[in-house]
Every structure is written in structure tokens, then in C-alpha cells.
């Protein structure tokens, strides 16, 4: 018996070559880590590796094992932990978008977490709410487990792990009976173009980072008789200054957005910003920890192959996870570009008054260092109840058709508001919904819901905006475009936009987040977020009285600002003596 088993084992060893390769002899490996010689085909794709006929061999075979319903079985043999995280991630469920949409459409009073895509899969179309139908038809094309094969005229998205990790597609060539398969290449060096498949709409950070602004749609200039600067079939862009991290270092999305931030931390999160791990300070004012404490950092560094694992690496402030490409190098902080391992020195947060003064301690970095923010005003949602439109979840046409109209676009010096993190952040419309529903001969306008949202626009520049750009700019304050002035009776403001005569169902200018008295005209979908209140508006504008003359941080009044203020109040400064006569 013993000998028999040994012989069987020996035979098995000798015949360990999978029968798959009898036909697919010309198949390449996915990468060095997944070598076809050592791993074979069946460990990832299933099927019967010892079968002698095609039919038998292909039983239970999976073309794309990285789809999340298969990944746990196949990829999960080695990558169990990460797949669990990805399954819970917000890029899979898209619940962040759906739940906010329901809130904006006034279907829920408070944002609560839904099951996202999975929940709607099980819900019959006829039972879907307006927001759910809108989500299914206009938003749900993008999620990492989308079926790649349904895309005909748009860039395919989805497919599970490959949605992000695939860097070269499969190529199959047949010549008679011989089939040559070039296996898709997967990598942890995810090119930004993969991220941009989805991250190019809504707040448009994916475009802004690369200095592209979705334009008004003129397609100008006309080059060789064609509309130019196309994003896709019907969207166009023009060039604006890109983010400094792109222009200076050519950094990709993944150079900042870490593994945990993107693939999740194993918890279900309500919003994208909760899932996010990194912040500016993680690189520009880092906390270093010995890399030996973080086996995952060593693994990621080895996988990358171009980035040496330093002794001390940066750790995120928010979730305490390692950034294996940000390291201590003598006195300096360096970042390695994941694409090719190129090393850059990171400038350290300076000690100057502008970063240290108490008066600005509530500001998020993006409040001052963002050059522009993509702003899309007015989102007119038109719904044809009797029409039909493709449902990206059910993968067929269902009843109800949407059309989106808008009021106007701007790229502008960002308006500011208190953001989701209670810090002062750039803000722009997000979204200003008005609705029209056509049903039979009837037209109704069931609701409107005008909201702003705060985000980092990803248009970072080294030089910050000037003092006046915040302290005496009605747009920055959230009042909108118009004439801001100050007189004895306080702040006065004359807006340009006339919403009422423009046919909008609102009593305030479309670009007014607040009134000059801090009344909140438009809402936010986040608990902590709001426009400035009366006290804040007055305080910001009040400071301008000093800023007119003391408009630069190297001005001596900022050396000891507290003392300077005291002196002014006691009329001891030259200007107080002269101006307050």
C-alpha cells in the first residue's frame, strides 16, 4: 500500500504538467509572480486540468477569475485578506454615491448606508425610487465589479481586480488549431489612466489633476476640420494649469493614494472621504516609523521591484498605515514614484507665519493651495417616464429615461466653506438639482434641491492664493459673483445672477451658498459641512481692513501678530494713529 501511494505520487509528479497546455501551448505568463510554469492555469481559472477533451477540461472554467464573485475562490488562495477588504470597499458597492443621491433627491432625511449596487440588483425596476432609477441609469456604469463586456461605445470598466490592476490587455490569435494567448498583464503599478476610466466626472478631480477642465462643449479649436479636445463622444476639455504633483514629479494617483485608502481598510464606509487614508501632511510633515514594524510595506516594496524598502517610512496620520514609497533619507523626506522608482525630495512644511499663525489653523491645505476648482452650476434632471434607457445594473433597457441639462460651467478660484472634516475647504456646487418629469401629456417639476460640496480640487500649486482673494472676494466667501463692499452699516453685496428671472425655482443667486448675513441658502450632504456663518463672514472681511496695507506674510505685523493687534487697539502703531484719528 505504501509503495502504491509512492508510485501514484511519482506518476503525478511526472505528469504534473496541466493538460491545458496541450492546446494552449503558446500561452504567456501573467507576470513573474504568476508564472505559468509553476502555477499552471487551473489554479486561477478552474476547470479540469487532467482532462483529455476540451469539453471536460473547460467544465467550471472561469475566464476572468478576478471578478469579485470568483476572486475569493481563485485569487483568494493567496490574496484572501485583500479581497475581503475590496469586497467591502466603496468602489465596489458605490453606496456612497447612491446614498448621497437619495438624500439630495429628498428620499431620505439622513444619509444611511445602503447595500449599493448589490441591493439594487435584487430590486425590481418597478419598485425603484426616482433616485435609484437615476443611479442605475446614469451612475452605476462605474463600479469595480461591473461586467466589462457590456460597454460598446465607452471605455470598458469593471471586471473585478483587473479593473484597476490590468496594465496590458489579453491578445488571442488563432492559426488553424493552434491558439496563441497573450495573457493580460496585471501589476500593482496602476497607471492613472485606469483610475481615470471612472474618476472623470462629478467633482472631476481625475481631470483637474492633469490640468484638464471639462469644457462648455464647443470642441474648439477646430483642427483639420474636426472638433478637438475630446474626452469622449460628447464631452470636451480645455487645458488649465495642472496639479504641481503632476507637473513637477509626474506623480500618478497611486503615488499618494495608498493601498489601504483605495482598496479599503476592511470596514464599510459611508463616504469616500471616510475610506480615504492619506492627507498632505503624511508627506509634507511626516511621521516616520521603522519599516520592520510593517510586513505589508516590505511585501509591497518587493512587489513593486523598483522601490527599496527604507529603514524608516512614513505612516499615515489618519489610519496609521505605512506608505512604503515615502521614506526618511538623512534629513530629508523622499518619495519614490511607483511607476519607475524615480526618487524625489519632498519639501517640508515651512515654519513661516502663514503656516503657524493661529488665525489660519482651521484651514485645510487645499483652501490656500488650490489654483482652481471645476464648478458645474445647475443640474437639470429631466425624466421621461414613458421612455426607455439602459440600466447599468440590470444590463437591459428598462422604463424611464433621463436627460441632464445644466446652467453654466466655471473654473474659478475656489469658494470656501467648512468641510466634512470641520476644516475650511474649497467648495463648489454638488449638486444643484432641479427636476422635470414628463408623463403622458403631463409635465411636473416635483422638487429642487440645491447643494454645495467641499472637496480637494486636486489643482495644488506651490504658491498660495493671495490674502485679498479670500478676505475681500465675494465668490470665496460663498456669496457668489457680484459687488462686495463695506460701509458704516456693514457689508453690502449686489449679486449679478438673477435666478428668478432666469427661470430657476430659487430666490437666491445660483452661485450663492450663503447670504452676506451668513444665512445658508444651499445645503451640504455632510453633517459637519456648511457655508460660513455671519460671525465668520464678518471676521474674514474685517481682516481686510488691515490686509489692504499688510498684504504679505513677510510684513512685520505678522512676526508677533497678537502683540501687533494689541498695539493697534491701543493706537500705538503708526497706522492707528493716522487712520483712526
Amino acid at each position: 500500500m505504501k509503495y502504491f501511494l509512492l508510485i501514484v505520487l511519482l506518476i503525478n509528479l511526472l505528469h504534473s504538467k496541466e493538460s491545458c497546455l496541450n492546446c494552449h501551448s503558446n500561452t504567456t505568463s501573467m507576470d513573474n509572480f504568476h508564472d505559468i510554469k509553476t502555477m499552471g492555469c487551473a489554479s486561477c481559472h478552474g476547470g479540469d486540468k487532467n482532462a483529455l477533451t476540451k469539453e471536460q477540461a473547460h467544465k467550471g472554467i472561469v475566464l476572468n477569475p478576478s471578478r469579485l464573485e470568483h476572486a475569493q475562490i481563485f485569487c483568494g488562495k493567496c490574496h484572501k485578506e485583500v479581497i475581503k477588504r475590496v469586497q467591502k470597499s466603496i468602489m465596489n458597492s458605490m453606496s456612497g454615491v447612491l446614498d448621497t443621491l437619495k438624500f439630495q433627491f429628498k428620499e431620505t432625511k439622513q444619509i444611511t448606508q445602503s447595500g449599493g449596487i448589490e441591493e439594487l440588483k435584487a430590486k425590481p425596476s418597478s419598485k425603484q425610487s426616482l433616485a435609484e432609477d437615476h443611479f442605475s441609469k446614469l451612475c452605476a456604469a462605474c463600479h469595480i465589479n461591473q461586467d466589462e463586456t457590456i460597454f460598446k461605445s465607452y471605455t470598458p470598466r469593471g471586471g473585478g481586480c483587473v479593473d484597476c490592476h490590468r496594465v496590458a490587455p489579453a491578445k488571442v490569435t488563432t492559426n488553424g488549431r493552434s491558439v496563441k494567448i497573450i495573457h493580460p498583464k496585471l501589476s500593482t503599478k496602476i497607471p492613472s489612466s485606469n483610475c481615470l476610466k471612472c474618476h472623470n466626472r462629478s467633482n472631476r478631480i481625475g481631470l483637474s489633476y492633469f490640468g484638464k477642465f471639462e469644457s462648455e462643449g464647443y470642441g474648439t479649436p477646430y483642427i483639420h476640420g474636426k472638433l478637438s479636445h475630446k474626452l469622449d463622444k460628447s464631452r470636451f476639455y480645455y487645458d488649465l494649469p495642472a496639479d504641481i504633483h503632476h507637473t513637477k514629479g509626474g506623480l500618478d494617483c497611486i503615488d499618494c493614494h495608498s493601498e489601504v485608502g483605495v482598496m479599503g481598510d476592511g470596514k464599510k464606509h459611508l463616504h469616500m472621504e471616510d475610506a480615504l487614508d492619506i492627507s498632505c501632511q503624511d508627506c509634507h510633515n511626516p511621521t516616520f516609523k521603522p519599516s520592520s514594524n510593517y510586513p505589508k510595506a516590505a511585501m509591497l516594496s518587493a512587489l513593486n521591484g523598483n522601490i527599496p524598502l527604507a529603514k524608516e517610512i512614513a505612516v499615515t496620520a489618519k489610519k496609521g498605515t505605512p506608505l512604503y514609497n515615502v521614506a526618511k533619507d538623512g534629513n530629508k523626506t523622499v518619495i519614490y514614484r511607483k511607476r519607475d522608482g524615480k526618487k524625489f525630495t519632498i519639501s517640508k512644511l515651512s515654519n513661516k507665519p502663514y503656516h503657524n499663525l493661529d488665525i489660519h489653523k482651521r484651514l485645510d491645505c487645499s483652501a490656500c493651495h488650490s489654483k482652481w476648482i471645476a464648478s458645474c452650476y445647475g443640474c437639470h434632471e429631466v425624466y421621461f417616464k414613458d421612455g426607455k434607457q439602459y440600466d447599468w445594473i440590470k444590463h437591459r433597457k428598462t422604463k424611464g429615461q433621463w436627460m441632464e441639462l445644466r446652467t453654466y460651467l466655471r473654473y474659478e478660484s475656489p469658494a470656501l466653506a467648512v468641510g466634512y472634516n470641520k476644516k475650511i475647504m474649497p467648495t463648489a456646487p454638488g449638486c444643484q438639482v432641479l427636476t422635470t418629469i414628463y408623463e403622458g401629456n403631463k409635465t411636473t417639476h416635483p422638487f429642487h434641491s440645491f447643494a454645495y460640496a467641499a472637496w480637494d480640487p486636486h489643482t495644488t500649486s506651490k504658491e498660495a492664493r493671495g490674502c485679498i482673494d479670500c478676505h475681500f472676494n465675494p465668490l470665496t466667501l460663498g456669496l457668489g459673483n457680484g459687488v462686495l463692499d463695506m460701509n458704516k452699516s456693514g457689508i453690502s453685496f449686489m449679486p449679478y445672477y438673477d435666478s428668478n428671472r432666469s427661470g430657476l425655482p430659487i430666490s437666491y443667486p445660483i452661485d450663492a451658498l450663503i447670504s452676506k448675513d451668513g444665512k445658508q441658502f444651499q445645503s451640504f450632504s455632510r453633517d459637519n459641512a456648511r457655508g460660513f456663518n455671519k460671525k465668520e463672514v464678518n471676521k474674514i472681511v474685517d481682516a481686510y481692513k488691515c490686509i489692504i496695507c499688510h498684504g504679505k506674510y513677510d510684513d512685520k505685523i505678522y512676526k508677533n501678530f497678537k502683540q501687533s493687534k494689541e498695539k493697534f487697539k491701543n493706537k500705538q502703531t503708526p497706522c492707528a494713529k493716522e487712520l483712526l484719528k
Binding site: Y218, Y222, Y238, P241, L405, Y408, T443, I468, C549
Partner: protein, 419 residues
Amino acid sequence: MRNIIKLIILSTILLTTTDANECTKCHINKMQQCKTNVHFTLKKAINTTRKTFGIKDSNVTLQTLPKPPKTVKKPKDLVDDILRRKCLRCHLTSQTVNPTKNLCLACHNPHSNKADSFKAKPSQEKCLKCHNGEFIGTDYLGKFPHDYDKSYRSPIDKDGFYPNAKDGIDYHFLAQDIHHQKGLTCISCHNKEGGKNWLKPKCTSCHQSLSPNNHKSDHSRLSCTSCHASWMVNSYNLNIFRDDTPSYRQWRRLTMQFDPKLEQFLVNALKAKTPPPPKMVDYLDNIEKRGIWYSGWKFKRWENFLLVNSKDGKIELAKPMFQYKISYKDSNSTMVLDNISQVNGKKIEAFLVKHPHTITKKPKSCEQCHNNPTLFDKTQINKTLFQGKLIDATVLTKEQLEKMQSRKYKQERAKTLLK
């Protein structure tokens, strides 16, 4: 009985009044006056456009405008064509603005107009038939043209219709001119046709006493509009493209071209099974000719403004005009001109002094000029907007800019705010 006969004769006259002669029976002097009038000759618009296309010392009128040359090699070979088929859609006897064919009725209301109680004064509605869209005119009512793409036909009104686009475009409504709010119409200021005040009425002829507190001597060179015009229609980079081939598909979202006739043609052409040949009417001889003139902007803004020194020594507002990028594809699909923005080796891009009719009592704040980003922010985001040359004006000098941010200004401003 006599009265009835009179009435019949009168009504037949009125019904058959199709040419100016009917009016000139009584108003013979006026007719002579009209022939030298800018509205009749359109001299300024025609010759400034021809000049930007590189035709030197151009001095033609609507009546003497030559026919475009048959072969096109340079942008200037296209200028008379674009004038005839695009710009001159508006002229006194143009079918689209004045279907009566009666020269006078283009502006003057006929005596039968009951609403006007038998007065022949031009109504505002008549003026705005031409003076609309990108131009000074409809801005008086606060109107700012929407963008062309079909996603800008918003908001839908309560009955389910798109906004009114009679001019060939629909509008945003911004702050209206105070004179409009108070009930004045165009001719309240632009009165006495041909007279001194007609083309350029002076604010000071009505507003004779200005408060000395608010009108300091430092600002004596400023025109009234530089401060009191609240916003203006700035449309950047006019891309124009004549296509002699029937390639309509790429314009499917851009059929609204600020030209109702062209819009209708494009809508029909896109629906047709066999696309019709590209044709557009010459508004001077009313003959359809080969080719479609498409146009599009880079973008439009109302909040930007540029201050310049005008040739008569005033500081004025200037707006982007004639920032052409010209393309021409002939019927063999050859790109004869491909996105040309230079004429005679020089960039065409130009700004023109304008007086936006968006006057408000409250002027701009000091900061809007003294810290105007378009004058002082030389970062990439703004500098691309104002590189153009100025027609009949010069940019503010370094000294002027320094003065605007001088210590004296700052102290003065601080003093008023700290009061």
C-alpha cells in the same frame, strides 16, 4: 360714405406698403438722411471686420460690399463671405429682421401700430432684434447668452418647454440696467437719429451734478461705464469654420449656432436619410450658396473685465472681439485653411472698447479694479485670456498699474473702511 372710402384706401395702402417709397411720400428728407446713416451702411462693422482679416484701408458699405472671390487662399478671401452669410444677417432690409421689405419699418413702428398710439418711434423690441446675443443691447435687460451645446437649454419652463430662443439663443438673466428698471427704452437716450447724441449719448447730459464725494479727481479719466457697468458679455476666441462638405454629425449637439435659419437647416439635415448639400443663404442677395459657416467659442464669462486707455484719453472697458480662428474645408474635403489665427504674420486676436449697458447705481468696489485679477494676476490661469491686441486703445501702463496699488490708494481705502 366718404369716410368708408377713405378707410378702404388707407387700409389698402397700409397693407400693400412694401417699400420705403410709401413712407417717403411724406418723409422725403428723412430718406436722404437715412442713406448716410450707420444703420444703413453698416460701415463700421464691415470695415473693422475686413481690417482684422488683413484688408488694409477698407472703406466699403453694405451697398458696395464686393462679392467674395471664387478661389480662397487666404483668410481675407473669406471675409466678404462671412460678412454676407453670418454677420450681415442683421441689416435694415434683411428678411430675418425685417420681413416687410420696407426700409423704414426695420426700426420705425408703422403709424398703424396701436400699441404705440400712432407714433413712429422705434420700440425697444425693434432695436433688440439685431442688438442682441453677444452684443450690446440685450445686456440692458440683463440677458447673457447661454452656451451652444444642447445641454444648456435649461431651465425647462412649467409647461415643459425649453427657454425662449427667438434670437437664435436663449439667455441667463443677470442684474439689469437701472435705466431699464426705471422704464427707459433705447431711444430714451439714443434719441434724435443722426444727431450728436444718437450714437454715443453722454451720461452727463442727464446726470449733470455728480456727488463730489464719490467722484474723486483721481478718477477723472475714467468713463462712467468703467465703474457703473456691473458685468459684460465676454466671449473668448471666435472659432469660425466654413465647411463645403455635408459633414453634419459632429455638430449634432451644437445645432444652436445663434442663427435660427442655420439651426433649422442643421436639425433637418441631421434627421434626413440622405443629407442635403451644405448651403447657407447670402443675406444680401438672398441666394443660397455652397458651404456652412459654423462657429464656436472657447468660453463666455460675465465676471471678467479689462480696463484700457482709449484713444480719446479715457479709461474704458474692453471686450474680446475678433479673436478669430479660421478654418475652411472645400468641397473636395481639402483643408484650405486649418485653424488659422494669424493674418500677415500677426495674431488676429483683438479687444474692442465697449460700453456695456449693465449700469447699476452702485459702482464696482475699489478692489474689483485695483486688485483686478485680469490686470494684476499674471499666473497662467488668467494671462491666456488677455494677450490680445487692442483696437483703438492701449493697455494700462506700468505707471498706471503701480499707481493703482500705491501706498496712497491703500491708505485712502483703509481709511474709508476703518471709519
